[in-house]
Subunit: 218 residues, 4 copies
DNA sequence: AATGAATGAGACTTCATTCAT
DNA sequence: CATGAATGAAGTCTCATTCAT
């Protein structure tokens, strides 16, 4: 498992995705719920089977192993967590000169906040597994470092030219941004999902904080 | 386990702490290492026994159960993670009028950064267990909300009087602070401990970010 | 299964034999290969299905059960392993007085060597199953003791009359012969098929050895 | 398993052998019985546990895996099946000029016949596993080719010098001998152990047969 | 205090087989 | 004729825990 790259797995998953039986979908659904609640390691396949109303063998017929079931849950989320950057909106930013970095940042954060909010459980599962699996962690790091390179670099270069970002390597800028955003997400969605949070305020905070960190005062 | 409050457990642990034999200490040491690396649920007591060079039974003689061993690891960390607020330094802040909130914040962050740095592994274990155990999460929340109430409230009130903090309930202020700090710690120490981080810069960033969020512009 | 006699099964198999579709033949082919390589018990029907390029259900549609598939492999071999004695050649021996037992023996051994050589895999499967299945073993014993009785008895009586065989019960003579021949076959084909063997020499040896054992010095 | 050489495994087994609990011995005992009766692959560890009167876990505590239990059964047999050649008897043959190859052969065959007779079950298990496991087969071949080289070569050279053996490479002579002996053993002990066999006659036959094959007529 | 043999529940997984399509 | 989703019993193995020594 650890040897294969993400995308290979994600692609082979994708193929199955289309053919997913009703039962298969139910299994994934239940797995997400239970993995999120008690953790992958503490959830047994027999529990999942029971809760999904299928025979235990069915899980293995379709997913091969418990671990592959985990990846069937995690990978689509991971893949979907990035490509959105290719959105029309982002293309806008690059072409319309009056768009400020702040708007861009706000949009990104709102968008990703919404995404994670809709996938709270998987996000939590991912965080725990990132903590426990060296190989997954490394693959995710290199995945995020490589995949959107071209596009993201363009965007950051653009804003640097416009004098809205301080002059540090893009990689540094990005890491600072991600630290803030994901640190916040983890705290909010994974650790303390039951506390009340006011999205408007939270987004505003995050934006300010990041702007202050890597933005240039005009 | 979930029924007992933290402090009861912590106290009963403390008693044992003093009597810890060499083997006991080795067990705790090894447990920290392995829990941090693969997670509590995926670490077996037999592995721990082997790595610690003791018989399987020895672990249970001393700690009673695997779960109690976990708490023997977590609780001292949790307890130690707060009381430092009673430091002489903090007393200083309250009495010396020229101390700014910024210095206070910087000091706190440096101090806690140092503490977590020295206890990376336990911190990681705690985070995972917080994610997986509802009861632990709730107890920690109420533990942090109650325990230092008196002292912390005084501090925040003081700075509010001095006009350095915006006029929001202390609980809100504290949560904003903690979100930033812990979100950052988790990202840095638990998720991506192998990346390079520059402490001076990071602390500065954190301070700015928080000041901007809850500080008052003079 | 164990209750039915060989011949009943063999006959019912024979019927199917003629109707065998392409897929059925592929299944049998693959089954022979895999049973021979890893043993019947360690080969799963799903492996066979995959290797044969058919659906799992197809195997059961045609053969009913895994065990019946095994017998579909073994029985034709067993049946074919004897009747050859009804050959024209053997008829010759009985009628032509100048034929010596040595020629007869050489012919038989060459013939069976050739047969087993062409069916190495099935022979190996049969040996293993004889080792593991009491009922099969007993049925084979009685099958070989009964089936060609008439014919074989005639042959041995003939050679006894000609003074070429020592005066022991036919059953003893036959067993001595079979022990040598099959003992050799098992060693050569089942156990160490990768070693090099020189057929001419090996046959000569076997003949000498058996002649010495049950032949009469003129 | 397949990577490690025999002797390494045999030695590590030997260590355990000395410390064998009563329960461990019972497990091995029962395993031999059941493996011999139904085959390794068709015997479940739960059956063994039940028949041995132990918990299933106990088997794995002591033997690690079902396969290692198999090797705990097979290896001592394999090792013991050779070294006997270092016997006083054999030393005798080499030093006493009046000892004929025939006596030597008779002694060897009697000795090994006795050995296999006393270990019928394990012999049968070994034969089946040799048939099903490529790696075991290869290791056994090289084990028998290497281990007693020195001694055996001396013996055969001695008899060649005395003019009692035909002038072929020792390896050829040995293989011819082994084929006869083991071919016979397999037929007798593994395949048809219920038939009646007269040891005196059988040994005599085997000796004659082999003498005829590789002995020199004076 | 420490051991390690023993346990049995339960984990993940495989298997032969069935059946609706 | 052929498929492949679904099954649930059974298989191997792991685990936390106990207890006699």
């Amino acid at each position: 498992m650890s040897a294969k790259s993400f995308m290979e797995l994600a692609i082979s998953q994708a193929k199955n995705n289309q053919k997913m039986t009703e039962k298969q979908q139910k299994i994934v659904e239940v797995a997400i719920e239970m993995f999120a609640e008690k953790g992958y390691a503490s959830t047994s396949t027999s529990e999942i089977a029971k809760a999904a109303g299928v025979a235990e063998g069915t899980i293995f017929k379709h997913f091969g192993s418990k671990e592959k079931l985990l990846y069937s849950v995690i990978l689509p989320f991971l893949v979907e967590s990035v490509p959105v950057l290719a959105d029309e909106f982002i293309q806008d930013v690059l072409t319309k000169p009056y768009q400020h970095f702040e708007s861009f940042l706000t949009a990104i954060i709102k968008n990703r906040l919404d995404f994670v909010k809709r996938n709270k459980e998987i996000f939590k599962i991912l965080v725990v597994e990132l903590l426990n699996r060296d190989d997954l962690r490394e693959q995710v790091i290199s995945f995020f470092q490589q995949s959107p390179n071209q596009l993201i670099n363009n965007i950051f270069d653009t804003f640097k030219h416009r004098g809205e970002l301080i002059d540090l390597p893009n990689s540094t800028l990005i890491r600072t941004m991600l630290t803030q955003i994901f640190g916040y997400f983890i705290f909010r969605f994974a650790l303390f999902p039951t506390l009340d949070w006011d999205d408007t305020i939270e987004v505003e905070h995050l934006v300010l904080v990041i702007l202050r960190g890597i933005g240039k005062k005009e």
